[in-house]
């Protein structure tokens, strides 16, 4: 197994306030990894760092055999303008950008792929629906269809099942399982620990730095979870300065 993503003494933050602090570690290619931790643990920040939306304050993220453009990213609250007059087909088609770019047209095969992706997320018949008419769950299904089309080696999901019902969640988890079977690397920030235990073999427990990483059942122990919680609370009390650097 090779590392797809490595973190070396990585610190990410906002306005010099660290959210991810001196993180070391790696994610092997083909891993289905859940990222868990309390609020403010730096989970979303870590994904933003990997996708390149946030430059490290120090340390580095290195990608091996993966180019930044091979990473697909579904942010926590996708900032989609739902009043824009565009239909499901066209939004899912955006996933082809990497290949067709500015001018390329959709070939018959592309159209078929978009079709299949829409069917795969259970939105058959919604192809020409304006996105303004979709429910929250349907919107998330549509965004998963776009991820399917992106055909990315690394897929980052930030709380993809928040405010999504159990039927939709289980349908979308089937897609995640399919990505795993296709040897894609999937990193998902999740809060539902039961769901993680059932569907994610590997877990990274984060509290600004790694509390534990490895097999899910070995990571999500009561002691580790308590440690993560205590870590965040003590960090928050003395957030003004970095102890380790001193």
């Amino acid at each position: 197994m090779t590392a797809a993503i490595r973190f070396d003494d990585l610190t990410l933050g906002y306005d010099r306030h660290p959210a991810v602090h001196h993180l070391d570690g790696e994610v092997e290619a083909g891993t289905l990894l859940a990222i868990c931790g309390p609020n403010g643990a730096g989970k979303s920040t870590l994904l933003k760092g990997i996708v390149g939306a946030l430059a490290p304050l120090s340390g580095a993220i290195s990608l091996s055999r993966v180019k930044p453009r091979d990473i697909a990213y579904l942010p926590q609250a996708a900032d989609i303008d739902r009043s824009f007059p565009i239909d499901v087909f066209d939004v899912v088609g955006m996933g082809l950008w990497k290949r067709i770019g500015l001018f390329g047209g959709f070939s018959a095969r592309d159209e078929e792929k978009i079709h299949d992706a829409i069917a795969a997320v259970g939105l058959r018949g919604f192809k020409r629906r304006p996105i303004a008419t979709l429910s929250g769950g349907q919107l998330q299904r549509m965004l998963f269809a776009r991820l399917l089309i992106q055909d990315a080696a690394v897929i980052l999901l930030d709380e993809p099942f928040t405010a999504i019902d159990s039927k939709t969640t289980s349908d979308l988890l089937d897609l995640v399982a399919r990505w795993r079977a296709e040897k894609r690397t999937v990193l998902a920030v999740l809060h539902d620990l039961d769901l993680v235990r059932r569907h994610f073999p590997q877990t990274l427990l984060l509290a600004r730095q790694t509390i534990a990483q490895g097999r899910t059942e070995a990571v999500l122990t009561p002691e580790n979870l308590l440690k993560a919680k205590a870590m965040i609370e003590s960090f928050d009390r003395q957030a003004h300065a970095c102890e380790r650097a001193a």
Binding site: V51, A53, R69, I71, A72, Y73, P75, A78, D79, I80, D81, F84, P85, I86, D90, V91, M94, W97, K98, L102, F103, P130, I131, R146, Q150
Partner: protein
């Protein structure tokens, strides 16, 4: 009778024909840009940019008087400085785009009024602000046509990233670096059209030609492509009808064109099938097979 009313002004008078050609060029290019401005929630940006153009045009005017070339180049330069400047400020500082644009255009407008007042009378200023669609010479017409062509080609080029940048900016940023250049190129097209428009209609009314047909189209259709076509058609109609009315009623043509566009907008506001007032009054049953 009808032909006398609707056609003969254009047959008889060359200045009317020129005005119609100019208005057509403005409508074809400006209205589609307006559609994007509205969908991007930048409806007031056109207005701000129109003010921003003034000092450049004024500097051109100071050097060369009321002549096309220097005023166009000046206006273009000022507009681009403000467009790019406010874009850069929005990206590099805590200020959002609307705040930084407001700051830039206010400085620009004050500078423009000061410069115009250094030389020239109020009549000259009125010309800059309200244009003279009935006095379009060949050079101005060619400029308008060229701007319309560049705009159409440019919009075709920008269409996909612009739509993506509007619907889901986060996604476009995650797959390409096109967002910044797309935004700047789009604003450049807006500036180009305003500079063209102020030759014909004046800075203030050029914005009306851009926004009113677009706002009407938004009320009439839910489809992006249809919206663009409808906006261009309404813009042209406003230009034509406005010219006819101003000819027969001896009213100033620029404002009448915009008033016509305004009247079309009011109609769309009431009857528009995609969100007009009447539509909201009567609840419609859901779709049934």
């Amino acid at each position: 009778m009808f032909s006398e009313l609707l056609i003969s002004p254009f047959v008889e008078f060359a200045f009317m024909r020129r005005a119609l050609v100019g208005a057509t060029a403005l409508a074809l290019a400006g209205s589609p840009l307006g559609v994007f401005l509205i969908l991007r929630r930048m409806s007031l940006t056109g207005d701000a940019m129109a003010h921003a153009i003034l000092p450049g045009a004024a500097i051109g005017y100071l050097f060369a008087g009321l002549s096309l070339g220097p005023m166009t180049i000046g206006g273009l330069a000022a507009g681009l400085i403000v467009a790019v400047g406010s874009g850069v400020v929005a990206r590099a500082t805590i200020l959002r785009e609307d705040a930084s644009l407001a700051a830039f255009y206010l400085i620009s407008l004050a500078l423009g009024v000061t410069l115009v007042s250094i030389r020239g009378s109020n009549i000259d200023l009125l010309h800059v602000l309200f244009g003279s669609v009935l006095a379009l010479d060949d050079a101005t017409l060619i400029l308008l046509a060229a701007i319309a062509s560049v705009t159409m080609a440019g919009l075709a080029l920008l269409y996909r990233p612009l739509v993506m940048e509007t619907v889901d900016p986060g996604f476009l940023a995650s797959v390409s670096r096109a967002s910044g250049p797309t935004q700047i190129a789009f604003l450049t097209l807006v500036v180009l059209n305003l500079v063209g428009g102020f030759q014909a209609l004046g800075t203030l009314l050029a914005v009306g030609m851009m926004m009113l047909p677009a706002a009407s189209a938004r009320l009439i259709s839910r489809d992006m492509t249809a919206m663009i076509a409808i906006a261009a058609a309404l813009g042209w109609l406003a230009g034509y009808v406005g010219l006819v009315i101003s000819f027969h009623a001896s009213l100033p043509s620029g404002p009448v064109i915009i008033l016509t566009a305004g009247a079309l907008y009011l109609l769309a506001l009431i009857f528009g099938p995609a969100g007009g007032l009447l539509r909201g009054l009567k609840p419609r049953s859901h779709l049934e097979a």
